[in-house]
Subunit: 336 residues, 2 copies
């Protein structure tokens, strides 16, 4: 193995990601230095935050440099190792590159356990970054109490499907918001959400008035824009809003954002807290154990939307912003 395929950021996108913003090509495989190993990717995770990393807006970690390999969530197996304790075949997951093979010293990666009976796509697509995102955002910030009403936007997406099920485990009434009947049927029929609003065919505010006439205790926010406003306006006193993402604005070319609801936040004593899953990295063992336990006892189901071919990644990532994915979007780089 002397070459690899990799996506590099050629231009920072303006608005929607365009053809040519990311370029795919074959390159010589870097040498594996002492303390490094090579990893053949099984899955590449495509996530809304990818678009943030492509930009140079204010963000929570350095943007990807123009010319650099695109950053992404990855899992894969070691091919060749010059790092003590790391052996061919070992399974790792974490932050890596949009590539079929990457050479790394292990920074940003950790071992992913092999779980009997759980396919690798489900393990990576749940226990990777989306599960901890849902777990800490909902439990630490949302502080769900039995009988409370929880609203989850992007309900059929990677994080949303887990948030809603943890909400049910904690005794909440869970209302999802998703695009289209199939996604809504899935989160209510398969995942046990109490209700789901199809934002493509329904007025979200009117539906919330009907489904949650007494208001909303927790808004797990992933979307921003008009949907966020509709939920926010219906928050109860002492409501909490874990602010996980604002996907509706990631491709925006203007700085337009929903207005400030400062007076309402004061009068209703709301809590709004932004977070990024890596803020909770020291507690990933806790979330992993809980999530895995719920998976194994059947209380946490997750759906992966697995698409083949690393060469499709730049096209596939755009589907996140139009709701084209159904479940956690993964690219199968190498058959597991």
């Amino acid at each position: 193995m002397t070459t690899r395929n990799v996506w590099r950021l050629a231009h920072r996108p303006v608005g929607d990601i365009a053809d040519g913003d990311l370029v795919y090509g074959s390159e010589p495989l870097p040498d594996i230095a002492e303390g490094q190993f090579s990893l053949r990717l099984t899955y590449l995770s495509l996530d809304p935050t990818n678009r943030i990393w492509m930009s140079d807006q204010e963000q929570y970690m350095p943007p990807v440099d123009v010319g650099a390999a695109m950053r992404g969530g990855v899992c894969g197996r070691v091919v060749e190792s010059r790092k003590p304790g790391v052996n061919p075949g070992d399974l790792f997951a974490g932050l890596g590159e949009w590539a079929d093979v990457m050479v790394t010293d292990g920074t940003g990666l950790s071992r992913l356990p092999e779980i009997p009976g759980v396919p690798l796509a489900a393990a990576f697509g749940t226990l990777g970054l989306v599960g901890p995102t849902a777990y800490f955002g909902l439990l630490d910030i949302g502080q769900p109490q039995p009988g409370e009403t929880l609203v989850v936007s992007a309900a059929a997406g990677g994080v949303g499907q887990i948030v809603g099920q943890i909400g049910k485990i904690k005794g909440c009434r869970v209302i999802g918001i998703a695009g289209g009947k199939a996604k809504c049927d899935y989160v209510t029929g398969e995942l046990g959400f109490d209700a789901c609003i199809d934002y493509k065919s329904q007025d979200v505010g009117a539906a919330l008035d009907r489904l949650a006439p007494d208001g909303i205790d927790i808004n797990f926010e992933q979307v921003g824009g008009d949907i966020m406003v509709a939920v926010l306006q219906r928050m109860k006193t002492f409501g909490r809003m874990p602010l996980c993402g604002l996907i509706s604005s990631y491709n925006a070319t203007t700085a337009s954002e929903p207005p400030g609801y400062w007076t309402m936040m004061l009068m209703r004593r709301l809590t709004v807290r932004g977070f990024i899953v890596t803020d909770f990295a020291p507690r990933f063992a806790e979330s992993g154990q809980a999530l895995l336990g719920w998976m194994l006892d059947g209380r946490l189901k997750t759906r992966q939307d697995v698409r083949p071919g690393l060469d499709n990644a730049a096209r596939l990532v755009r589907e996140l912003y139009t709701g084209g994915n159904f479940g956690k979007l993964l690219v199968e780089v190498t058959p597991p």
Copy 2:
């Protein structure tokens, strides 16, 4: 004693409080029923939130009805009692009426201890509602850590002066924002704040850039508007904003508010939490003990701005919105 003087809300103000919105007059003293007592007010506390109660906007307790006695923070002594355990001369404080005498069953009131060496104005003006507001807002929501930078707006006001001193006790670097040199000199010279920005003569943003070049960890927000925006834009990652008040907007006739900083809240993982002191009522014993301890050991000084004459209350309350008060604004209803 068969009559009392009382301020009633005649009209809901539009914009600034106008002459005639509150009317002052003499009325027959209500009968004291079984379980009630009469209280002669010593001090009436004037607070920014009074303007909220005069309006019918969304708020955190019912507005004052048109025609009803104006609500206010009060302290006073029992004159006549038909309530077991309550005796003439007993000292109470809490929520009451803008009146020289009120008849009450004690709802919303609690006993105010007599503290040797501490004048009643200081005890009421510190341990009443402003001290607990500062204490819980800063400690529970702000979570100050040694070495962090705390910004306090309305720094020379009732709450602000206490927030800054608790911040110093907790090891923070404290920057006040106040209107005019006298107030700034007071909070730095007398109260030990590290710096104070005079918003009437200085560009707040530029001053913050100079005084806090690495950014702000905690913004204890009382003002809103442009000053809030200047502070918010300079918050550090993981910054906290106890949202205590938005006085700059209370007289506004339009719904204009500072814009939403949703993306910034997400990227910097800010926490914004609105609160009202009464949310913490079950813990008032804790705050009272801590505040009194700091007062007695000289670490907490407070300034009261005491003005004589209940008949001046409707004029005096307006000074809060133009920065006319210097310290906690109290009306002396009866000499202590």
